[in-house]
């Protein structure tokens, strides 16, 4: 296979920047693409080259297949890295790249297609002898069938859209009555959301942990397991904080887990980097969930403990080269955590926020890696995912990593828009988190918005700050009913009221 010299990054923001960095280090030209509102995005500034691909809405730019491929060919790229999201798990795009003579840095199109179908993936796992959650062998056509399955495996049950994923198209039912009520709705939603109304039924796991296996596979059929990542702390089925190793694992579990992941990868002839997701029940049994045929947002925690550069490995694999470490993956050292810094307001049901980065000072120092997609003055666009930065730390063990994360979060200055840094400070300091007692229901069980309310000291500091502001202000205001015009160091509180709850 010919060496890769010019890579078009079919993505934006933080992940495009991260990919460009590895390309730079490997002496490969990084080619960014950008939508109109992304002209000033960091990935445009840090890439070697950058080209426009259309208006803000994703479908008109980052998801415009023709435009992206036309650009790749025009600028003589010889490979495309999809990052995550957008075209990352789109077999049509992967195929189109190959047809256009571009190396797609990822798995084979047919693998992406096969694993994209939950049922096919489930079947593959079963064939590979990997435990799956008890449930219907395939899609369930009628409510009657669903009831039969329920009788067999018992409640609570999960109704799952075959084409769903990432928490979308799922519904838990706890009784026969709930099942009857939910059946049509779930199918309807699945049809509307994914153009595929097939639904299957499986046992719902209470207080599950989300643990996933990072795998790498090269074109010689070599498959490596690079350790697990626990991603149980979630909101709206979106991961908020990930770590490795999982506090729920011992060496024995890990070995069985890695072996299961590799069996699946081998069974489907996997290529490049991938993630096999499992859920772990309270007894520590793991069940296959799905395979993500791409780089994960949380890949850095694996890099921190292994010293590997997963993007560099993907690049080498796409060139037909073997894994850099041959048959012996590096032994993980220490522990790592990643906190996703997101433009949202945890105090208002994690409502997304837009705005300008008025002031920012990122954490630094020993064991801290911060992959940001923003900079001072940057205006966060509304069209895309609201991930601003990934704060990653390394520690000699989990507690050291946790304390270091707390330290780094304490240093994090980010002003001008709502974000979840204060939430992460709360989370990482929480005793249940410190104890490693996690589940995907962590927030439901522990979090209330009031918990982020400033304490007494904070109140006093705020008071001092307000006083200093009042002192600096000196606006001429005439006080209605007051004694005419006077110099006044403050404004009327009702002035500048925008009304509503403007979060911009």
């Amino acid at each position: 296979m010919k060496p890769i010299r010019r890579v078009l990054i079919a993505n934006r923001g933080e992940i495009a920047v991260r990919i460009a960095r590895t390309l730079r280090e490997r002496d490969v030209t990084s080619i960014a693409v950008f939508s109109e509102p992304d002209r000033a995005s960091l990935h445009v500034l840090l890439a070697d080259e950058a080209y426009p691909i259309g208006p803000g809405p994703s479908r008109d730019s980052y998801l415009n297949l023709e435009r992206v491929l036309e650009t790749a060919k025009r600028v003589r790229a010889d490979a495309v890295h999809p990052g995550y999201g957008f075209f990352a798990e789109n077999p049509v795009f992967a195929k189109a790249c190959a047809e256009a003579g571009l190396a797609f840095i990822g798995p084979k199109p047919e693998t992406i297609a096969a694993l994209g179908d939950k049922l096919a993936a489930r079947a593959a796992a079963e064939r590979a002898g990997v435990p799956i959650i008890p449930g219907s062998p395939g899609p369930v056509a009628t409510l009657g069938e669903a009831r039969d399955v329920a009788k067999r495996i018992g409640f609570p049950l999960m109704l799952k859209a075959a084409a769903g994923g990432g928490g979308k198209g799922m519904r838990v039912v706890r009784s026969d009555a709930e099942l009857s009520a939910a059946w049509d709705v779930t199918r309807g939603e699945a049809g509307a959301a994914f153009g595929d109304d097939r639904v299957f039924v499986e046992r719902a796991i209470e207080r599950p942990r989300h643990v996933e296996a990072q795998i790498l596979a090269d074109s010689s059929g070599r498959v490596a397991f690079l350790g697990e990542r626990e991603c149980s702390v979630q909101r709206r089925h979106q991961k908020l904080l990930e770590e490795t190793p999982s506090p729920a694992f011992d060496a024995k579990t890990r070995a069985a887990f890695g072996d299961a992941a590799c069996r699946i990868a081998k069974a489907v002839g996997y290529l490049s980097a991938g993630t096999v997701e499992f859920i772990l029940d309270e007894e520590g049994r793991f069940y296959f969930l799905e395979v993500n045929t791409r780089l994960q947002v949380e890949h850095p925690v694996t890099e921190m403990v292994t010293g590997l550069d997963l993007v560099a490995e993907q690049l080498a694999i796409a060139e037909g080269a073997p894994l850099s470490f041959g048959d012996t993956p590096p032994v993980p050292r220490g522990a790592s955590m990643e906190a996703r810094i997101i433009a949202e307001d945890p105090a208002a049901n994690f409502m997304p926020s837009v705005g300008r980065v008025e002031r920012v000072r990122f954490p630094q120092g020993p064991g801290v890696r911060n992959d940001a997609g923003i900079y001072r003055g940057y205006q966060v666009p509304v069209f895309y995912d609201s991930l601003l930065s990934k704060l990653v730390v390394w520690g000699e063990d989990r507690e050291h990593a946790r304390r270091r994360m707390l330290r780094a979060l304490g240093e994090f200055v980010l002003e001008g828009l709502h974000h979840n840094v204060a939430f992460h400070r709360w989370l990482v300091a929480h005793e249940a988190f410190a104890a490693g007692n996690l589940s995907t229901r962590f927030l439901d069980e522990h979090f209330k918005p009031e918990m982020l309310a400033p304490d007494a000291t904070a109140g006093e500091i705020a008071l001092l700050a307000a006083a200093l502001h009042a002192r600096e202000q000196s606006l001429e205001v005439s006080l209605p009913g007051g004694n005419g015009v006077e110099r006044s160091p403050w404004r009327w509180s009702d002035r500048r009221r925008a009304g509503g709850r403007t979060r911009a």
């Binding site: 049901n349 409502m351 997304p352 926020s353 837009v354 008025e358 002031r359 000072r361 001072r376 509304v382 895309y384 995912d385 609201s386 979060l409 304490g410 994090f412 200055v413 980010l414 002003e415 001008g416 709502h418 974000h419 840094v421 204060a422 982020l452 309310a453 400033p454 904070a458 109140g459 006093e460 500091i461 705020a462 008071l463 001092l464 700050a465 307000a466 006083a467 200093l468 502001h469 009042a470 002192r471 600096e472 006080l479 009913g481 007051g482 006044s488 160091p489 403050w490 404004r491 009327w492 509180s493 500048r496 009221r497 925008a498 009304g499 509503g500 709850r501 403007t502 979060r503 911009a504």
Partner: protein, 172 residues
């Protein structure tokens, strides 16, 4: 100098004095002393209170001031002139529903209204649902009031700051 500060729902009278970079505040009979220093980049101060180091930023938000503590925690504060306080009192204590205009916080799709014209909306009540960044988000009233006619059609896209609904003030 004296003024009123509203913080976390509490109204307090505050007396302020400064010498050089020392700030002395009297509130609720207590005395707060801080060494302060203005930092570059916006209205940012370094405060040393009994030696403890704090970094604060003051910005003008939608409702009075927003003070950001240690880079991440934002506290809304209102600073008012004593006279205004008196006026309010003169106008009679009970304020009823303040009335307001609900604005679109960001560009997106107005999915639906949660209230109809004529409804009495209380503070904190959800009035509309807007979809942005692939998520649905409820907009809530802050001061409440009597809902007017919808200003945009449901399922239509709206731009940031666009008025969605007016709430008329309603005396208690």
């Amino acid at each position: 100098m004296k003024f009123w500060v509203t913080l976390a729902g509490h109204d307090r009278e505050v007396t302020l004095r400064t010498e050089d970079e020392t700030l002395v505040l009297e509130v609720d009979g207590r005395r707060l002393v801080a060494d302060f220093h203005r930092l570059p980049d916006g209205e940012v101060y370094s405060l040393l209170v009994d030696g403890r180091s704090h970094e604060v930023r003051v910005a003008t938000g939608a409702d009075g001031l927003e003070v950001t503590l240690d880079g991440a925690t934002t506290v809304p504060v209102e600073v008012r002139h004593p006279l205004e306080k008196m006026l309010r009192a003169a106008q009679g204590g009970a304020r009823g529903l303040g009335g307001e205009t609900i604005l679109a916080p960001m560009p997106g799709l107005l999915v639906a209204y949660k209230v109809a014209a004529g409804d009495v909306v209380t503070p904190g009540q959800a009035v509309a649902v807007i979809e942005a960044m692939k998520m649905q988000n409820e907009l809530t009233a802050r001061h409440g009031g009597v809902a007017g006619e919808p200003l945009v059609a449901e399922r239509s896209s709206v731009s940031a700051g666009q008025p969605l609904l007016r709430l008329k003030a309603a005396p208690a």
